[in-house]
Symmetry: C2
Subunit: 151 residues, 2 copies
């Protein structure tokens, strides 16, 4: 490991993620949304809405950022904030009628766009890729935990 044999896998991780992001975001932009806005619409679709906390965990958007993105979606009247009846600190975020309508349009369209990427890959290959990525993700989680414990 002293040969830094892990560099190629990090290189590929970053390049592949970037390739996904570029491919995906370009299509989302044509639909009139940013990648973050799409993630939120997609996450809220077919739900009763959820708290900022849950929404942030699902979309990987940190809370400070999420406030701003939801502000802009609210300004477009695609989502609304509703005070949680259970917790006075918590705000629920829900799709509006317009948000649901947009979800019904853009979500399938974007899945279709993504699907084309995988037409040349076997089911087995796809499953295997997900599996090895998960192992790598767990290795990062473990390393992060080690740091916290040391602190």
């Amino acid at each position: 490991m002293t040969q830094k044999t892990f560099m190629p896998v990090l290189y590929e991780l970053v390049r592949t993620y970037q390739a996904f992001e570029t491919y995906s975001a370009a299509h989302i932009r044509l639909l009139g949304l940013t990648a973050s806005q799409f993630d939120i619409i997609a996450t809220l679709g077919n739900t009763e809405g959820m708290s900022f906390k849950d929404l942030g965990e699902k979309t990987l958007i940190t809370k400070g950022t999420l406030t701003g993105v939801v502000d802009r979606l609210e300004a477009k009247t695609l989502v609304r904030r509703v005070a949680s009846p259970k917790d006075g600190r918590s705000q629920m975020v829900q799709l509006t009628k317009a948000g649901e309508k947009l979800f019904a349009k853009v979500f399938p369209a974007h899945l279709c766009h993504l699907e084309q990427v995988f037409s040349g890959l076997s089911q087995k290959n796809i499953e295997n890729t997900a599996s090895v990525l998960k192992q790598l993700r767990i290795a990062f989680s473990a390393a992060s935990l080690n740091l916290e414990e040391a602190a």
Copy 2:
């Protein structure tokens, strides 16, 4: 493929990249740099410098962004701009003495930090992960090319 069986692999790609980014950036911040600044310092280390174009391709930073990041590194006197002798449009970016000194310090330190992630993974696993990621990246490139050709 109509079952959207590719969703798990995209989920893992995004989560794993995010885990890497969070783990890596937290350490880089302790070293007094941002992730982008580190990428540039690391790319320029042990070179004679390179053009904005080459630097952008290696670091995956687009040119508009790169101007700003280099501005800030220049303000810290870690890099300098030098007009290309061959091409009047082109600027070369080089590490200054201070930049080289910082490179010599932070680059090994960060590699060491990253290395710990891979201590629990076999060499074979690491190589395999890089290989399947590359296949996925190529699938994204091919899909992007299809779009360009259609246009």
